[in-house]
């Protein structure tokens, strides 16, 4: 990547790190929420469903602003987290939080659909064989939804790689801390003649995201055929 400047390289690395962690940390939560939405009937289920979809529907700037208000230094959750020594404001962790939240609906949808495709009768069979609910989940449901989980995770990763609006509004753009690839692209597009540099970065993100998607299709199919039996 000799044709990338050091700052661009840094943005690329940061984007990868942010997207990776955003995906990794939201994945268990996404699986849990997807499971709850698919299998449990509880009051507020539709509210939860709506909340999950919110980042998909809101303009990203609004999401970023809401994050700023709640997770910022002065925000209630931001202060709470700070008590535990976790600061997200103006850190790459905040960028990961923003990316994770923006990608969350995509992840949950993918996983939820694959959970709905699992025959509850197999889960019942697991229960009669002595596995408690969490164990049934771990030994029956989870292995069977693995293709969906992988698809969801990689889709979320790809989305996180492209997230911009909420991220810059929430954690702004601090080179080395929160300057992700899309922020850099945006900056180049603001000045006359910046198109070439922007294009270079866009191509890089497309390559990475497409690679991830192809990988997910491939893994998904392999795992699916393993799960369905060969």
């Amino acid at each position: 990547m000799g044709w990338l400047g050091p700052e661009e390289l840094e943005a690329l690395k940061l984007s990868l790190r942010v997207s990776f962690w955003a995906t990794l940390v939201t994945l268990p939560i996404g699986i849990f929420v997807a499971y709850a939405l698919a299998r449990w009937r509880f009051p507020g289920r539709q509210v939860l469903n709506g909340l999950v979809h919110l980042p998909l529907i809101l303009p990203p700037v609004v999401t970023g602003y809401l994050l700023l208000i709640t997770f910022g230094i002065q925000g209630p959750l931001g202060r709470l987290l700070a008590e535990f020594g976790i600061v997200v404001a103006f850190r790459w962790t905040g960028a990961a939080l923003a990316a994770g939240i923006m990608a969350f609906p995509l992840m949950v949808r993918a996983i939820r659909l694959s959970i709905e495709a699992v025959d509850p009768k197999l889960e019942q069979a697991g229960a009669t064989l002595g596995a408690s609910r969490p164990l049934v989940f771990a030994t029956v449901t989870l292995p069977m939804i693995l293709p969906g989980v992988i698809a969801g995770a990689i889709l979320a990763f790809a989305k996180a790689m492209g997230e911009f609006g909420a991220t810059i509004t929430f954690v702004s753009n601090i080179p080395g801390q929160t300057q992700t690839l899309p922020s850099a692209v945006y900056a180049f597009l603001q000045v006359p003649g910046g198109e070439a540099a922007a294009t270079r970065l866009v191509v890089i993100s497309i390559v990475i995201a497409m690679g991830a998607l192809l990988l997910s299709e491939f893994i998904g199919r392999r795992v699916a055929s393993r799960v369905a039996g060969s």
């Binding site: 700023l68 002065q74 103006f90 603001q190 006359p192």
Partner: protein, 239 residues
Amino acid sequence: QGPLRADAEGVLVFAAASLKTALDEIAPAFEQQSGQEVTISYAASSVLARQIQLGAPADLFISANADWMDVLQEQGLIDEASRVDLLGNGLVLIAGGDAITIGEMRPDVDLQAALDGGHLAMALVDAVPAGIYGKAALQSLGQWSRVQNQVAQTDNVRAALALVATGAAPLGIVYRSDAAVEDRVQVVATFSPDLHPPIIYPAAATVPASAGAKAFLAHLNSEAARVVFAEQGFALPGG
């Protein structure tokens, strides 16, 4: 029938988004006087300039910086004769809540100490005009290298204002016009205009502009309009 025209009826203005409050107040008066309908599309200057480059049917372009106007002028997309420096602006250092006002920014003010580990909110320092000017001013003051790593850059100057207003950042550098209307922030210091390139909002009619475009441009220079701009904290060229 869409705005793919430059007809006598109506004026389509492409204006930097930071002018929204002022222009929304000024335009109705002109519409009443002239009977012409004024439609204003607010977006980032870069977005609007690109759209004009690619054939947007705008009659009038008001940019938040000179660079994009220069580009359009070089490409012959605007009527050079009509170009005026419509407005100016100044930079201020703002803080949230109650802060002491120190008047004009001086090199010896310890900005880094004032930040106390927090961040200095600015627009993108290499891309967005307010950020570019701010960086230049800090460089002139010899402060840039000291605070450089604590600058939180936003995609537009309003977002920088929001960082300070919500308390996310203790200090920020924004336009005077932005600071004027936000109650939650206070101007701590002003930056002298000679610390940075002149902040200018150039305006010009496009090449195929409608007849009303120039009339509206003239109206923007009228006394009534100038009062509104001044109220919003804009500087007036020569004024």
